[in-house]
């Protein structure tokens, strides 16, 4: 698929999950785990080809470094040719408590977890106990024999660390080494992955891992697949890189889970990327500073979660009125209020659509995985500047902190910075009325341009007005941009279809549930329709994607079915809804069960 938006060329691969089906038959991406018999291969629902697949859980206390250990496991599978999805589950505390990561590898693209596990790597007893009902007949358990008792193979991490004189934090390397052996992964792969991904003390880590590797025996071999390894990115990193490709020059943010990872990532890479990263006193300062950057001519983005976004709504309305381009990343977690800071949710859709007093156009995109996040974040930045509107990227904790394989093959975003610039003929009028509603841009410092932006109702030059006719004219000008935006967005793949594209029963979903809905759709023979663009609402492509459905089932991770309400407003009437709002993402199994209850 090749998109020529007039702005830049973009070779899109897989962004709409157009995965080659194994059999070429209908339904695209099919696989289903058949745990009882064989756990590592799964069969494609359409052609019954066995495809390879594995799920690994690693668990321990907060502070044990579970997230990094999970990332190493993911890289091992990645280097075996698996496509990866990693979900990291942790409570809001710094030490203690139960943390775990589930790493799922599959021959095909994957974006959700399975409940049943093929491997459990337990750093403590709690991990063994908590995940008991996720084992199947063939689950291999590798545990820290110093702290836990279990079936499976134990390793005395303490002994290994003592022999190697290694610090406590290297315990994870032992468990990973043990896992590698149990899974029959060649040592050379372990070595490669450690060398590439352990920043400090790599040799010692390798020795620790090797000791465990040598102690254990192969119990469930994970066969390599035929894919090359791919970059593994979490959603926040993908958004960051997408923004950079969209021309980001300044990122302004105040820490708030689950958006903080984006701040940390860009702050860490800022010199390499040549961007400025600012963490000011609070979210109000964040958005106003970002608007200062944009007025000064620099492409800026902000990031936060719901509570911080509340504090940005006044600045948002200013951006709308003053027509200052801005990208806002609002990563959702369970609300209301402080809620569950480290758990997921999809309850900010309507808030983001209507936030800020008054009416003005905005772009809202909700990518479904890291690959879409990379793609759409670049687009969001470009649209924000082309139309001088606020553009939202709306991930959730699942996407922001989940890790995915990202296929960047052929993806190039030659950013043109193609915003409409002033022709340098004075007088400059910041809000010159044009057929499209979009006025030419100039920045302070430009010769002979007096650049006046204004939060009051204003005339073409930016001077305050209270005159009724001018107010109407300028409101119409701003709303015309919305019309233009609707047209402009037609050049992009706004609505994705997965599963059985012709099926009469459709799942309507958005954001990070893309992965789980796709799998469930394949399994149950459903059409899966996922609008990525939420505003302007892609009525026509969505109606096309839903054409000739008999039943529409909304699947959302909120309690009131917000996309369903939005769809109804546009004449699309969902028949049923499947909602989850306990902060945990749907699993494939739970979603299938819930869907079966409502499929007619």
């Amino acid at each position: 698929m090749k998109i020529d938006s007039g702005l830049f060329e973009y070779n899109v691969r897989n962004v709409t999950s157009e995965i080659q089906p194994c059999c070429g038959g209908p339904g695209g991406w099919h696989h289903d785990n058949v745990y009882a018999r064989t756990c590592i291969t799964v069969s494609c629902g359409a052609c019954m080809t066995e495809i390879q697949e594995v799920s690994v859980l690693i668990g321990g206390r907060a502070g044990d470094g579970i997230n990094s250990a999970g990332a190493l496991v993911a890289q091992l599978l990645n280097h075996l040719g698996y496509r990866i999805y990693l979900d990291f589950d942790y409570p809001s505390l710094i030490r203690g408590g139960h943390n775990f990561a589930i790493i799922r590898g599959s021959e095909h693209e994957v974006g959700t977890c399975r409940e049943k596990l093929d491997f459990i790597l337990a750093l403590n007893q709690e991990t063994v106990d908590r995940h008991r009902d996720q084992v199947h007949a063939g689950t291999a358990i590798i545990f820290n024999a110093d702290l836990a008792r279990s079936d499976g193979q134990g390793i005395s991490i303490k002994n290994i660390l003592t022999s190697e004189k290694a610090p406590e934090i290297m315990g994870n390397s032992a468990i990973i080494g043990g896992f590698a052996k149990a899974a029959g992964i060649e040592w050379v792969i372990v070595e490669t992955v450690f060398r590439r991904h352990i920043p400090k003390g790599m040799d010692l880590n390798l020795s620790v891992a090797r000791r465990a590797y040598d102690q254990l025996t192969v119990v469930r071999r994970i066969e390599p697949c035929n894919n090359p390894p791919l970059p593994l990115l979490n959603g926040n990193e993908a958004i960051g890189l997408g923004l950079v490709r969209g021309g980001l020059e300044a990122y302004v943010s105040y820490p708030m889970t689950p958006s903080s990872g984006l701040l940390h990532f860009l702050a860490g890479e800022n010199e390499k990327l040549g961007i400025m990263v600012v963490h000011p006193e609070n979210e109000i300062a964040v958005i106003l500073m970002a608007l200062g950057f944009a007025y000064g001519g620099k492409r800026a983005a902000v990031g936060t979660s719901g509570g911080g976004f509340c504090l940005m709504t006044e600045g948002l309305s200013l951006a709308g009125m003053a027509e200052i381009p801005l990208v806002l990343v609002v990563s959702q977690r369970t609300g209301p209020s402080t809620g569950l800071p480290t758990y997921t949710g999809q309850s900010e859709l309507q808030f983001v659509l209507h936030a800020g007093q008054g009416e003005y156009p905005r772009l809202v995109v909700a990518p479904g995985d890291a690959q879409e996040a990379l793609f759409w974040s670049a687009i969001a930045m470009d649209i924000a500047w082309k139309f001088q509107v606020p553009a939202f990227i709306l991930p959730d904790k699942t996407l922001s902190e989940g890790t995915y394989s990202v296929d960047t093959g052929g993806i190039t975003v030659p950013v043109t910075k193609a915003a409409p610039f002033w022709d340098k003929k004075p007088p400059y009028r910041r809000y010159a009325d044009t057929p499209s509603g979009v006025s030419p841009l100039a920045f302070p410092g430009a010769k002979d341009a007096v650049v006046k932006v204004n939060s009051y109702a204003h005339d073409a030059s930016g001077y305050t007005t209270e005159e009724a006719g001018m107010v109407t004219l300028m409101t119409d000008k701003r709303l015309r941009k919305d019309e233009e935006l609707i047209t402009g967005m037609n050049g992009y793949p706004q609505v994705n279809v997965h599963g059985s594209a012709e099926a009469p029963v459709a799942i309507l979903c958005w954001g990070s549930t893309k992965g789980v809905c796709s799998e469930a759709g394949v399994k149950l023979g459903l059409r899966v329709v996922q609008p990525v663009v939420i505003a302007p609402f892609p009525v026509t492509p969505l109606k096309e994607a839903l054409a000739e459905t008999k039943t529409i089932i909304c699947v959302e991770e909120n309690a009131t079915a917000q996309l369903a309400a939005l769809a109804r407003q546009h004449g699309i009437i969902p028949d049923a809804k499947v909602l989850r709002y306990d902060g945990r993402p749907f699993t494939y199994e739970s979603l299938c069960a819930r869907l079966k209850e409502v499929i007619p």
Binding site: L232, R245, E249, K272, V278, A285, G297
Partner: protein, 283 residues
């Protein structure tokens, strides 16, 4: 643009006798002098809040960002970071910048952001027709406190001294020449400049009869003496009867936020290469 008309055609709606005229006139003179001295006014930006003071954005024919009540300073910070070559001036109200957005003021001082903050301190919310502000005296009867406020005023100079501002001054709209020197000094200063201007509000706080006999210029004050600056700042507490020192109370030289934050620019190619490297490192 050179030799530009500095005042726009927008109809001025300040009340007769309003001290804002003085501030506008002073800024106009300073801008004209800057231009004469070779500085292009294309490189000057004025950021205003919302309130009577803020209308100056409509009246001055330079780049302006007419922002939100209380939010001039983060906007100005962003502009300065975006383009360090610009001269960035904030015209704030006292309600604006001592109440709604006080935190930003303190943080800009702390960071020593290289902007100039001029507070049109009329000690009242003018545009919303006369409520008390953080610098109104105890017992002030405004529309929201008809039987008198229940709180002492803040002393903004003391706060600024405690926050790290590197240029701190107080002016008075009935002392225009001095005001000009103070604003000029602030604009010329590299670092965070703060000028609290006692601005007459003809309608809701016509305090000229109070101020005029009390203001004075402290003799022999060395503005690099922090301790003496503190003494002067405390002489009048915006409440009780006392002499009111005007002038530059404090100056100091420190690196600015912008200098410390500066990132080396990269080319589009280098950036794309960096992205590729990051992606490659994730395999």
């Amino acid at each position: 643009m050179t030799g530009r008309e500095l005042i726009t055609d927008v109809q001025n709606t300040w009340c007769p006798g309003c001290g804002n005229f003085t501030i506008q006139h002073t800024l106009k003179k300073i801008l004209a002098e800057m231009e004469t001295a070779g500085r292009s006014l294309d490189d000057v930006v004025l950021v205003s809040g919302i309130g009577c003071h803020a209308k100056i954005a409509d009246y001055l024919n330079i780049n302006t960002f007419y922002s939100l009540h209380g939010r001039t300073i983060p906007v100005a910070t962003g502009i300065k970071l975006a383009n360090p070559d610009l001269t960035v001036i904030c015209c704030c109200g006292d309600g604006d910048c001592y109440a709604e957005g006080l935190d930003h003021l303190i943080f800009a001082a702390k960071r020593n952001v290289d902007i100039t903050v001029i507070v049109h301190n009329n000690r009242v919310y003018g545009l919303t027709t006369g409520q008390y502000t953080p610098t109104s005296p105890l017992g002030f009867r405004g529309k929201s406190t008809p039987s008198g406020t229940a709180e002492f005023p803040l002393n903004p100079l003391e706060l600024m001294l405690a926050s790290g501002a590197t240029y701190i001054a107080r002016g008075y709209t009935k002392k225009m020449d001095q005001l000009r020197a103070l604003l000029q000094g602030g604009i010329a200063h590299r670092g965070f400049s703060f000028i609290d201007v006692l601005q007459i509000c003809a309608t809701f706080f016509p305090a000229a009869d109070y101020y005029t006999p009390r203001v004075y210029d402290p003799a022999d004050h060395d503005p690099t003496s922090f301790d003496h600056a503190c003494v002067l700042a405390r002489e009048w507490d915006y409440n009780s009867d006392a002499r009111i020192p005007l002038g530059v109370l404090y100056t100091a030289t420190f690196p600015c936020f912008g200098e410390r934050m500066a990132t080396k620019g990269v080319t589009a190619g280098e950036r794309e290469e960096a992205v590729r490297q990051i992606l490659a490192s994730r395999i």
